[in-house]
């Protein structure tokens, strides 16, 4: 009902505007077209000026309203993120200054040089000097931005330190799976054709398979597979080895200011050093519900918006305790082969928290 009222109101408003606009045309004829054209001209010139002033105020006001909702006031939670922030501010200052100057010139010129009686136009088709100036000055500024950018780019895309914790992150429609190396500190082999949704979501090679030409890889027996939450250590570099099981996803880490696609068939990597534990971040952001969220940033299907992972940054000690409590995926899948659980508690699911996030439809 409200919708119909709104639509009726809009149609009525249109009708009124249209009638006024038509009437203006007739008035113009009566009043003299040249005169009414000049009137319109001067109204629009003042509107230009007004738009500029209100617009610049609006820029300030918008910043005031929204600044605290962004990450601008929140320190980056990784070393690479700090570099991103540094760059962001430099770029913001440069583009901000250019923005304000050029917009003011644009609207000020529009206002100042509006058509007026007796004003002479300056015939000014070109000036080599001016053109050289405004080609070379931006070129220098750009060079600065490029140098800063590429320096950071090479640091971020460079090799991870040797002592980095390696975690495999695999995307699938519509959640994330993580794998740790386990006791032997080596990732076992995997093959996508032996994926089994129930107990082997990554397709670790746990048995010989002649048809596929696979050999059981003992190194895969102690790999720990987690879902939903990934654990990383404060102050210790972490290298993510990123893959996908189906379509392209993207590991988006807004608080660490990083992002990397997950591409089926082509592993990608991303490394950084977390700076604050989740607990510390709750205090920094003054938000007791704060969590590091891992968002999928590449369109991956109708559940894209719900493809959420959680990263928990913990201390080394907490991490060790946590990992000690996790059962390798192999043992969870085949509890009988697990030396530790001969008395056999029922298999704790290899897959922790394996409930898909509720999807609205």
């Amino acid at each position: 009902m409200t919708m119909f009222l709104t639509i009726t109101a809009i149609i009525l408003i249109f009708l009124v505007i249209f009638q006024i606009a038509k009437a203006n045309e007739y008035i113009a004829i009566v009043k003299g077209e040249e005169k009414s054209r000049k009137q319109g001209n001067s109204i629009n010139a003042y509107l230009m000026l007004g738009f500029m002033i209100v617009g610049l105020f609006g820029v300030w006001y918008c910043n005031k309203l929204l600044y605290d909702k962004t990450l601008l006031g929140v320190p980056a939670a990784s070393d690479h993120g700090e570099k991103v922030d540094e760059m962001l501010w430099v770029t913001l200052w440069i583009t901000g200054i250019v923005f304000i100057i050029t917009q003011i010139l644009l609207f000020w010129f529009a206002f100042k040089y509006r058509e007026q009686e007796g004003k002479k136009v300056f015939f000014f088709p070109h000036s080599t000097k001016l053109e050289i100036i405004w080609t070379s000055v931006p070129a220098i500024v750009l060079a600065v931005l490029i140098v800063i950018g590429l320096k950071n780019w090479y640091i971020m895309t460079g090799d991870a330190p040797k002592n980095a914790l390696e975690v495999e992150v695999v995307g699938k429609q519509f959640n994330w799976i993580y794998r740790y190396k386990g006791a032997d500190d080596v990732f076992g082999k995997k093959y996508y054709k032996v994926i089994n949704e129930a107990n082997n979501p990554l397709g670790l090679i746990w048995e010989d398979n002649e048809k596929l030409g696979l050999k059981d890889d003992a190194k895969a027996h102690d790999d720990i597979v987690l879902q939903q939450t990934m654990y990383v250590i404060k102050g210790k570099p972490v290298k993510l080895i990123i893959g996908s099981r189906d379509v392209i996803h993207d590991v988006g880490l807004p608080h660490f200011r990083l992002k990397m696609d997950a591409v089926p068939g082509i592993p990608t990597t991303l490394w950084f050093t977390p700076k604050y534990t989740t607990k510390e971040m709750k205090e920094i952001t003054k938000n007791p519900d704060f969590i590091y969220e891992l968002s999928c940033d590449q369109m991956c299907g109708n559940g894209h918006y719900s493809m959420k992972g959680i990263i928990e940054v913990v201390t080394q000690q907490e991490f060790d305790e946590l990992m000690a409590g996790k059962t390798p995926a192999y043992h969870a899948a085949f509890p009988n082969n697990n030396p530790k659980t001969e008395t056999a508690a029922p298999a704790t699911a290899a897959v922790v928290d394996n409930k898909p996030i509720a999807q609205k439809n």
């Binding site: 962004t70 010129f109 529009a110 001016l130 405004w134």
Partner: protein
Amino acid sequence: MSNEAILHANMGSAHATHDDHHEHHQETFITKYIFSQDHKTISKQFLITGMVWAVIGGLMSVLFRFQLGFPDDSLPWLEDLLGKWWAAGGHITAQGYYALVTIHGTVLVFFVLTAGLSGTFANLLIPLQIGARDMASPLLNMLSYWFFFIAGIVMLSSIFVETGPFSGGWTAYPPLSALGDTSPGSKTGMDLWIISMALFVVSSLLSGLNYIATVLNMRTKGMSMTRLPLTIWALFFTAVVGVLSFPVLLSGFILLIFDRNFGTSFYLSDIFLSATGTALPNEGGSAILFQHLFWFLGHPEVYIIILPAMGIVSEILSINSRKPIFGYIAMVGSMFAITALSFIVWAHHMFVTGLNPFLGSIFTLFTLLIALPSAIKVFNWLTTLWRGSIRFTPAMLFAIGFVSVFISGGLTGLWLGNSALDIHLHDTYFNIAHFHLVMGVASILAMFAGVYHWFPKMYGRRMNVTLGYIHFWITIIGAYLIFWPMHYEGLAGMPRRYYDYSIWESFKQFSDLNKFISIVVFITFSTQILFLINFFYSIWNGRKETSENPHGATTLEWTTPINPGHGNWVGEIPEVHRWAYDYSKDGKDFIMQTTPIGADEKEEKH
């Protein structure tokens, strides 16, 4: 061959008389308005078809903005109107939302801002401004429109398919776009999407080749390349970019068709489908290959959109400032630089795909280089206004609006083009704000400017000026209110293409802002209806144009009769003696290009 001879060769024997301007009397309704070969009619066909698509695409954005702004409200009549698939219970569904987003993008980029913008103005202006009676091949020109029309029909039909239209984003990255089991939209909807796009590529190649041939071969006597108005240069470069890049897109689509239907593995490797619980046999393909092929068109495509806009704006700013465009040669040179660079920056859309860091650094370098020609253009536009005598026609307002949003959106390109910073901002709302301002809004504003400016030439009547003013001010204010705050959402890392943000601790704080933006979208969209009313009303009932040259412009289109027939000029095509920008020279308000250089006058050397 002379212009005259080419024209007659294409028109067949029935028209091989010297009385070109009489022949439209013999035309039937079908040859005059439907299968017309007159470039002016084809231009109107492109424009009006583009408008239809703009309304459809715009309406889609209103619908998905409704979901983003009011995720908890429901409008039961939406289900009655759109059906359960799109709006169960009055909520836009997730699949409906993704279909809307995808088709909105595709339609606006290709049908509105490519066909609607260059199709309209290249067809209208190229023959009129270079002094030709028609395009090099009026037949191909007509075919170009009809391929575009059929492409549109196919795209439209995909909306009514049971599994829905394609819904994997306008970039159509495989494997999502290749496998029907990953998304219902990738079934029949995607087949239709590819067919539609293939037809569209054919259309744009036919028209592009035609534009190039016409500009190079059919200029009137005296019209050297450096005397061309900037609109023609812009449309010429646009055509060159299109002809060189669209075939690459088509090749990418053909490989995709093979992967979809014939079991090849160009883009597919190591895939396990959760929906069916099966592993696919495909191995060894590269999903990234498609992105290279796609963006090899995809990036030049944004210049296909912005170059005609730049040309139109240059022309309108100069005419309405009563001043020559500043730095004509620099303007042409910068457009050339943009054209050349457009082919070597595509991978800046792929900084986070894991591409080789060295490659990434090269693409960063070239990408930021584009800022140089863009900056030159902006400074030249500003200088064109400086010490002019500005007439604020609706066209001029839109042209100034273009410069403003082009600056706003262009500067954020320096953020996103810098690879290390892009890692943070890629695929967030910051990106949405950037490209909507710099390419979407900017080009739409330029398109409006062009329509207001050349409406008298198209229909021999005038549009209502007051409505034009209202249209401009609401549109520019709306555009900034919609897209400016989105930068802040992006700075919170808020990803694009999310159906619902309420489950995210990091992004849910923007629900009020999203509501606000959605309301502004609704108002701004409604205002565009006002423009449509003005446009269609004025075609039949606008005030009759009484002057051949209502804007006091110098270019050749204003030497034709108010309602030019097929062939444009009665009698001889005028000869050109000077460049297109002699405004306020030697105390004269303007000097037509057809006026010979006076005895004591110096020709402008640029």
